[in-house]
């Protein structure tokens, strides 16, 4: 049996481990995930995620200020995503990717989001890599936390 501190000691002494540490010092952040995560880091990661969830929540509920901040026009009809999808219900992020009948193609959640923006909402499609899209995706998936993956399900 070997205890943790002895084990770390052995690693540090080995030449391979030494090289990794040296490289990590050079490239910086790569070393971060070689160290045990700290509570402070965890809090930061969680906050970064929840900030996008919050933005996505506002976009999803038709908040004009957030849409302007992120430079998107998600609707011209007064309709907002949440009007058909309260609490992001019936968005089924856990069922994508799948063949989507309404688009007649194999689609991702991002495709679906853009379809809803363009068709029912009559807004302007957004860049799939934009912060607005990532925020919407963050909110929709966060709100479905606990749903079981069923990719491809109609």
């Amino acid at each position: 049996m070997i205890n943790t501190s002895t084990f770390l000691c052995i690693l540090r002494r080995s030449t391979v481990a030494g090289a990794v540490v040296a490289a990590a010092v050079v490239v910086g952040p790569a070393s971060a995930n070689k160290d045990p995560v700290t509570p402070k880091q965890l809090k930061l990661y969680q906050e970064a995620f929840m900030e996008e969830v919050r933005k996505g929540d506002l976009l999803f509920h038709g908040d004009a200020a957030m849409a302007e901040q992120l430079g998107v026009k998600l609707s011209t009809t007064g309709w907002a995503c949440a009007m058909c999808h309260p609490m992001a219900s019936d968005t089924h992020p856990h069922a994508f990717p799948k063949f989507q009948q309404s688009m007649a193609k194999f689609a991702t959640l991002r495709d679906m989001i853009n379809w809803c923006i363009e068709k029912p909402n009559q807004g302007e499609k957004i860049d799939p890599e934009s912060e607005a899209m990532k925020a919407l995706e963050a909110y929709i998936t966060w709100s479905n936390t606990g749903s079981v993956l069923v990719p491809g399900k109609y």
Binding site: R54, T77, C84, P86, M87, S89, H92, S143
Partner: protein, 381 residues
Amino acid sequence: MSDELDRIRREMHAVLQPPGVRPDDSLQITRRTFIHRSLLFGAASVGQTFAWWPLLNTIDVAHAAEAPFKFAWISDTHLYERSLNTRFVDKVVRAVQEVQAMDPPADFLIFGGDLAQLGKIEELELGVELLKDLKIKKYYIPGEHDWYLDMGKKWGELFGQPNWTFDHKGVRFIGLDTVSRGPDYWTAKKMTPEERMGHMATLDGTVAGAWAGVGREQLDWMQKTLAEWDKSKPIVIFSHNPLYEYYPPWNFWVRDWREVNDVLKPYTKVTNIHGHVHQVLYNEIGSMRSIGMLATSWPWPYAPEGVPKLTKPMIRVDPGDPFDGVGWETVNVNADDKVDVEYIMWGRKEVFVRSPEDHDKSIEEVIQPRIADRQYPWENP
């Protein structure tokens, strides 16, 4: 099901459905309200829910009709100003034309609330203008979207008292206001009328709270209204919200459903017809049966939990067709004293699910309340 909802649901059944209590046995089930006969006589599993037996005909509100008659229901038009959204206008125009074309004509129209989207004077007046083309007698009850910009001022000027009663051919009709008694969430936060309305207009918002209720004084009024009414004669009650507990986070309930049940308990033939849920819904609570109506504007999804077992769900709609999943209803009181509710869903010949995959809940989901209208929970460890 969450523990809290499970607890309330158990309580509701304990309070409302002691052994042997159901709506009057002489009542039959309509093909058009589509409940499953096998479900009337015991609990059913989800699998059974889709194993439909042949459907029976018509709800009987016995002793009702001195002569056969029909009335129509339109609700949840959610009108924006015409310049912003013409689709919602088009759908009201279509519903009005179709009701006007009924032959024989409807005796009257019930407008079940949510005429406007943001409670604006222009929206409410647009509704009046569009419904003017309908020449039959009209009765209105308010929805939350009509009310919380000016706390019912404009609505009252246009339509008068929000609760009312009248008798028609042997049936006592009652209209209830289930929207105006929300808790004050705006004064302490110094909200503008627009902010107050904005929170109320967000179905999944967390700020407006449990706003749907009948209220003690209106319950007393209802009790007085019914005091002289024969216990075995039919009563039809219109309300914006369902008069039982389906899904409180979206106010698919009234918070004082226990008290409502207390008032109605002695009466054996009570039918509640309600809006707000924008979906086909059927339930029996104590001696009352309850029927949910379609919106003209858009369909809400079924709630993630709490859909009554007696509901045969409506079909999953095509989001690309603004006329799908929405419409209006006729309620037909026949010569043989039966009341028949017919859903007119524009996008479909078949209104109801035929298979589990047709149900919007065929993909199971776990969802949670929004956060952006609350303080960040992670800032308050």
